[in-house]
Symmetry: D2
Amino acid sequence: MLRFAQFGAGRIGAIHAANLAAMPNAQLLHIVDVNAAAAKTLADRHGARVATVAEVFADRNVDAVIIASSTDTHADLAIAAARAGKAIFCEKPIDLSLKRVDACLAAVKKAKVPMFVGFNRRFDPSFSSLHARIGRGDIGNVEQVIISSRDPGLPPISYLKVSGGQLRDMTIHDFDMARWLLGEEPHELFAYGSCLVDPAVKAIGDTDSVMIVMKTPSGRLCHINNCRRASYGYDQRLEVHGSKGRLMAGNRTATTVELADASAVTGDKPLYFFLERYADAYRAELSAFVDAVESRKPMPVGAEDGRQAIVLAEAAVKSLKTGRPVKL
Amino acid sequence: MLRFAQFGAGRIGAIHAANLAAMPNAQLLHIVDVNAAAAKTLADRHGARVATVAEVFADRNVDAVIIASSTDTHADLAIAAARAGKAIFCEKPIDLSLKRVDACLAAVKKAKVPMFVGFNRRFDPSFSSLHARIGRGDIGNVEQVIISSRDPGLPPISYLKVSGGQLRDMTIHDFDMARWLLGEEPHELFAYGSCLVDPAVKAIGDTDSVMIVMKTPSGRLCHINNCRRASYGYDQRLEVHGSKGRLMAGNRTATTVELADASAVTGDKPLYFFLERYADAYRAELSAFVDAVESRKPMPVGAEDGRQAIVLAEAAVKSLKTGRPVKL
Amino acid sequence: MLRFAQFGAGRIGAIHAANLAAMPNAQLLHIVDVNAAAAKTLADRHGARVATVAEVFADRNVDAVIIASSTDTHADLAIAAARAGKAIFCEKPIDLSLKRVDACLAAVKKAKVPMFVGFNRRFDPSFSSLHARIGRGDIGNVEQVIISSRDPGLPPISYLKVSGGQLRDMTIHDFDMARWLLGEEPHELFAYGSCLVDPAVKAIGDTDSVMIVMKTPSGRLCHINNCRRASYGYDQRLEVHGSKGRLMAGNRTATTVELADASAVTGDKPLYFFLERYADAYRAELSAFVDAVESRKPMPVGAEDGRQAIVLAEAAVKSLKTGRPVKL
Amino acid sequence: MLRFAQFGAGRIGAIHAANLAAMPNAQLLHIVDVNAAAAKTLADRHGARVATVAEVFADRNVDAVIIASSTDTHADLAIAAARAGKAIFCEKPIDLSLKRVDACLAAVKKAKVPMFVGFNRRFDPSFSSLHARIGRGDIGNVEQVIISSRDPGLPPISYLKVSGGQLRDMTIHDFDMARWLLGEEPHELFAYGSCLVDPAVKAIGDTDSVMIVMKTPSGRLCHINNCRRASYGYDQRLEVHGSKGRLMAGNRTATTVELADASAVTGDKPLYFFLERYADAYRAELSAFVDAVESRKPMPVGAEDGRQAIVLAEAAVKSLKTGRPVKL
């Protein structure tokens, strides 16, 4: 039985808390949030208590922490958790600054605590099956990876201002997918970015539409396309070409209902957004974390993975700024 | 908050208990099962206590019962529950004998308790969406309904012997689908049955493969095909033709992964069996029951629906025996 | 080089003539039609000459005839062709009367000429592939066959009056499919018919919607559903269940274009009608006829197949009239 | 009636000649090929005569020429045809050297003859429908285009040596697609190339796998991925994202047959290669050429389109060499 404290009682926090509550081998002891009402509501729902940061780290009963608070608090909480000897489940990104990420990783390494970074997509049933089938040799050697990742709608500009920009906030998931699927670290990338959805995005110096290409030392190629708005819902697809074949994983729909009438044959749109599409993935990643901690196995997605995704995002930002490819 | 006792701690009982446990407005007080160990395990898992039938009906705190015990106990438990004034959630079928079904319905009617019959498929997200879209007029007037319903594998002969036969045990779900989708009661049906999967089925006087056609007073037509064995998994599909179009609902798969290689393009088989395919439906039907009881609204699937499905099954049995169409 | 005369310069005649013209090992010599203008237009288009029936049968250069004239002329022309020693490609049905069909078959048998009946669907690339895969053992033993066959729209009532009725005019194709796929002759069938599309159909004593079930001696089951109107186009699908799996063949679309927008994901309707859907099949059947005549091999669809489909149609008509299953 | 001479009696020449032969408003007079036997075979098949280049240009009866000979002859023949006042249907590319392309375009412009460049993919039914729907506003403003184009297998190295390289020989089609779909000329591109299929390709200084990104002045983005080998067949897909939705066009299969068995659900691979996939497109492009010449309308794909695709290919070659984005 792994006993948890959780930082953050927002949208993602509510998901993790509910998933913990349904796990037979985990228990949620404390909820911490600057929003006292949100903390209380979530704590009450799952039989936990509201606590302060200090109380959490002082409590010897706490084996592990979930860091699902705002991005700027991730690194400090992870460092404190490491020092307190708690296993860490940290929402992505660890931090928007690589320097602070490195400080965090150093603390974690020194404390020898396990740290998991919440790249939930690796646990999507379709994506994890596709990845396993690459490993099984279904398509031979990986040659090209194409990642399509498009959000249903532009977040508020107020959010975008503090998001770190599209590449650090949104594409970071796809950088992790790229590394995971390529089976090799990219050593160079090139990025194009545009503002096509809303001029307000341009006004704050951000992009809403990007296309990236990456290359690995052995010549494997990867393409990522992103847009902050897809009118038809959350578009999350993978395509991997290998020497023996192609694996694809597509979107899911709420139903399989199909209407044929005088105008067309019509089916469901993809599931609306990450809460719907990745519900299974959120459950599976937390379960994988608990299992790895309990069995003292390596983290399936570790702190170094969190770092590398940020390294790629930084490189893409630099490529956008300079208009040139960036070596890693 | 609706407080429950549950009869039956087997496979289906475990599902209902877990679904109850996850509902905010329901509570499981008692578990009853002739298998004491199974009852204890399930009770412990969800913080309920093991009880006897008598204790359940004597407990004023029990608002509702879930009858998920063996088929031959359904009617007696439902009658006792009705007399005790408990709301009833009864697994299908109410009974294999129409006479006993009628006795049960009389008791329920007299006691004026709500009774729900567990035709879970009405609550499958795809099937319920398809049904709602018929109601919304997407295909105009319903004209023809085609129901494909095939199980992954033959159950043990020992089960088949007490099952009431394929038409009462398996097709009964499809008879309910037919009534629900046709929007009119069939007034005649004709059935062909064969034993193609295993001669042992024939030896006990049962069928493993059936095809049925039905007709309603206004001329709407319905076809049902069943088989006890589909090597590719649980095949559950609906097809409804109307004056303005066609609605179809198909199978679901575990993943969307597709492999293209030198031999073919290959995707997942359908989900294996009812536990996988109808997991959402089991959740939704119980939730619908609780909501209907709490809001004193009519049961979405009532005792009369349970009876009518059996009436159709009986007619199909008669058609098989006589080799003639049977009027209802 | 096989030299042809063709009876009929209508819609189907135009297709056969064009397909002949494109074949390297066939030549079209004569066109015969009561409509002189139509005959001349078609003859001119393909370098043939307009001829009379007598001229055709007197011409020793004519090796084979295509009978694509009106249904009531098929049997007489086939008998005359047999007597003249010409190979016969006859559009379905041979005749609406089984007695005349038998007379025709007797003449053909006596003359020992090859006769092909134009069940074009056997030559649809998807259907013929499906059939071949049954033969290859992909699904083990055939157990159940489901045939969906729906026309885009009701023909004129004037046509329906002389059509022989839905079962003889439309379902006859599906009876041929059923025999072909079941791999055994059905020995009993039962039919329901309704008039749901247009009351004018009922007024002339016909149906526009039918559902049929059939059984073979070994217990194989088959279902056919038909409707004279499918708002979404020509719906032609096969589904065959065997001991080891399921084969399905669906509709084709003009394009693979799919639109995803705020309302839905939308694709093409099926191809509009038989001219579009079965264009390849018309080409392939004529080619198969020529090849079989030239190589003196058995006809891939022979006169007996034409007869058996009519036998089934007659039985279905009788079942509709009597309300009872009919043995064959 | 447009009267043609055709240069080239090879694989593509055979297709064009057969398509011409089936057109009611076109006639093939002459076939020219350095391979006399091939010329004679093709001429005989379609009732044309074998001629020399000089004879063709001297023949006043020739209205138009099809240039389907080897790539290095395209420009000279087009220039000669222009001077002789013949309408020109020229296989892509006009030439591998931009300088010679420009010389050719100057001659065509001076002679005021219509010139069509054979970018057949614009005439694929799915691709042309997708393009038309962009024009109709189905997805609002185009924002991102993704082009997947993969050949079934590596051509002989001897061919690759004279092909001009993957970007000029293979990607050129995709550059044309990109321009056509973006609705704006790209003003910058970046290319990665690798040799992953066969080291022999590297040995001749070519690539077999490329990924390209492009940008237009208004910020529209485009990605192209290519591989010389796709084990599952010819992979030709388009995906266009706009402000209101997404349009996709996929591969076609020989049949719609699907097998479900104990291992998976399996369908056909894509059609094998361009001869199969683009059979309709070859017919449609020639028909469009004839129609445009006869009605004196602008060429649907003109000489300038041929030039621009080469400009993009040259830029991509430069990007590969320099490792930098290239402005246009």
